[in-house]
Symmetry: C2
């Protein structure tokens, strides 16, 4: 079932408009050009239609046949939002899968609980994630940042998502250095910080990078699915025993105001279905314009029961200040993560700043 919010001009029939959307997503033909029996079997059924708050807005609930999707995640996304993403005045606000369709997707391998176990994060407090940055530092310099954050007790230290395989810090040099730096820090502190390398890159290097990461001993990776393709997330989750942090870069066009996909559908459903163990989303009041409500809905969707799928860890990022973590935790509850980067670096002494943040997180039980 897909809920579309439709802008319908005065004088236009909202039911006709809803069926046009459904045809666009399936047969790509007007009604007169295909056999009537395809209407129910393929085009789908308009289950309900009701005016929305604003004048000229309607909520249309379409039920499509699961057979139009098969077991193909990309075709699911295409059916929901492919061509209509290019229209004006069409917005996907909710998607629910039948149990049969849901059973074709396996979702996160580790999930929020598995991620906590990897880094030894106790239940009932938020997970703290930070990043080794900026782009342009050498592998040794990045490794030193990783070590500082590990000594501070941060749970996960990820590569900045723009750090890939540039000459200053080539992938096969950076990953073992950063991992070893974190491991040494762990030995010194007794902590269990996990370094999370970014594997986003050319499709024909992805397998090699993942095998390399696994051989180095890193248990988790970062990938940007809107760059690498959403199905690469699913493929990694099925093919490798690696936990996955999904980064939201290049997703913005989809959920920006009035645009095609509500962020809770993209991040809260599609990223989880594909297998993200942690979903980094651009938190409200940060550098990106998600609303408080959209963030809350995203967090809720990542955690709600969904067939046999594990819950993903929602990780608020994109400008979360260390000072605000308590406030957000009152809103989201304890079972979230925070990606805090710039605000720790801005304090000057990265290790001390990280240590204060971790101490604060240990006091939080949302």
């Amino acid at each position: 079932m897909v809920d579309y919010e439709l802008a319908v001009e005065e004088g236009d029939n909202p039911g006709v408009r809803a069926m046009e959307v459904a045809r666009e997503q399936t047969v790509e033909l007007p009604a007169a050009s295909y056999a009537a029996e395809l209407e129910d079997a393929i085009v789908g059924r308009l289950e309900s239609l009701a005016p929305e708050g604003t004048a000229g807005r309607w909520r249309a609930r379409m039920v499509y046949s699961a057979e139009t999707v098969g077991d193909d995640l990309l075709q699911l996304v295409n059916l929901v939002a492919g061509n209509v993403s290019m229209m004006q005045g069409v917005r996907v606000t909710d998607v629910e899968l039948t149990p049969g369709l849901l059973a074709r997707f396996r979702g996160p391998s580790f999930g929020a609980r598995g991620l906590r176990a990897l880094a030894g994060v106790e239940e009932r407090r938020p997970v703290i994630v930070s990043a080794a940055k900026p782009m342009g530092l050498t592998s040794a310099e990045l490794a030193e940042r990783c070590a500082q954050l590990a000594r501070a007790g941060v749970d996960f230290v990820k590569d900045d998502h723009g750090i890939t395989n540039q000459t200053w810090a080539p992938f096969r040099e950076r990953v073992p250095r950063c991992h070893e730096a974190v491991e040494r820090a762990n030995q010194a502190t007794g902590g269990r910080t996990v370094y999370v390398p970014n594997v986003t890159g050319p499709i024909d290097e992805l397998m090699g990078r993942l095998e390399f990461v696994a051989a180095v001993g890193c248990p988790a990776v970062v990938i940007t699915p809107m760059l690498s393709g959403l199905d690469s997330l699913r493929w990694i989750a099925r093919r490798f025993e690696l936990a996955i942090f999904a980064h939201p870069a290049f997703s913005g066009g989809f959920y920006a105001r009035e645009q095609i996909l509500a962020p809770e559908v993209l991040f809260g459903l599609f990223f989880r279905l594909a297998g993200a163990d942690a979903v980094i989303f651009p938190n409200a009041r940060g550098r990106f314009p998600l609303s408080d409500e959209a963030c809350l809905r995203t967090v809720e969707r990542l955690r709600r029961p969904l067939g046999d799928l594990a819950a993903s860890l929602p990780v608020a990022g994109g400008g979360v200040n260390a000072q605000d973590v308590a406030r957000w935790t009152r809103r989201y509850g304890w079972d979230v993560g925070y990606l805090v980067g710039s605000s720790l670096y801005a304090e000057g002494d990265l290790e001390a700043a990280g240590r204060r943040l971790v101490a604060a997180a240990r006091e939080l039980h949302g």
Copy 2:
């Protein structure tokens, strides 16, 4: 060089705003938190800044270091539009690569000329593309539609982009049937119509599907890069001797009004760099809201000289009426393609409608 169009609020400094965007795309840190020497080497240089037509709009031209990209297409896209895609009031209106960076991308293997050669399309007239549809037909029924369009003399007959591997027409059954139907029609008519199967699907099945297509003898494929990942396009172009039609589905959020990527950058540059031999774009005055000017810029960018890269064939789709092809050709010139689907099907006799369209195209020299 990247041109950003920025919305700058009254009282804000447009130059400061431009550098915030550049930092977001590179170091992801405020200026105080990284060494000054990274500013030029990594963050990039604001080359020019000028007010745009509308009040509060500024055009900022940033020059980034090519080393931040390496030879990674996804990192190029990420650098240009990754995080800022999630901002409001930031739009990429132009991108130019240095010759050195351009040389790292090989672009189309066939290009517009190679595509014409595949289907024996004479120069100086538009290429006619149609589609076998709708979803829900069996392989035999789709093959019959292919045969009708081939007998009509259509140059390329593609799968509808939502037809993947559903039970009604499984991929490995549909592709040989449709290809053989077209070949038989060609033998009867002496024509050279090419059937173009859609290979978009799970990443771990992509290689198998491409090998299968090549073994069947199809010389070209359809892929939807915004679903499968833009780099899958590049990988197919490098790994297989198959011409590629890139479909625009799921791209809409990016270029919709006020959104992050001008369509001429996404379709006109990124799709060509990645290796699309034909780029299907949603034509103006069709079902999707691209402007006349944006379409003209897209067509122009796909054809303009670009290092050693071949020109891609711009293919106007998304609601092109057979009756309007002459008018569009006066606008675009002869070196374009038209994807005409619904309007042929609406005429009832698909073969006769296709034949009329092909005859009309042969008269057009833009």
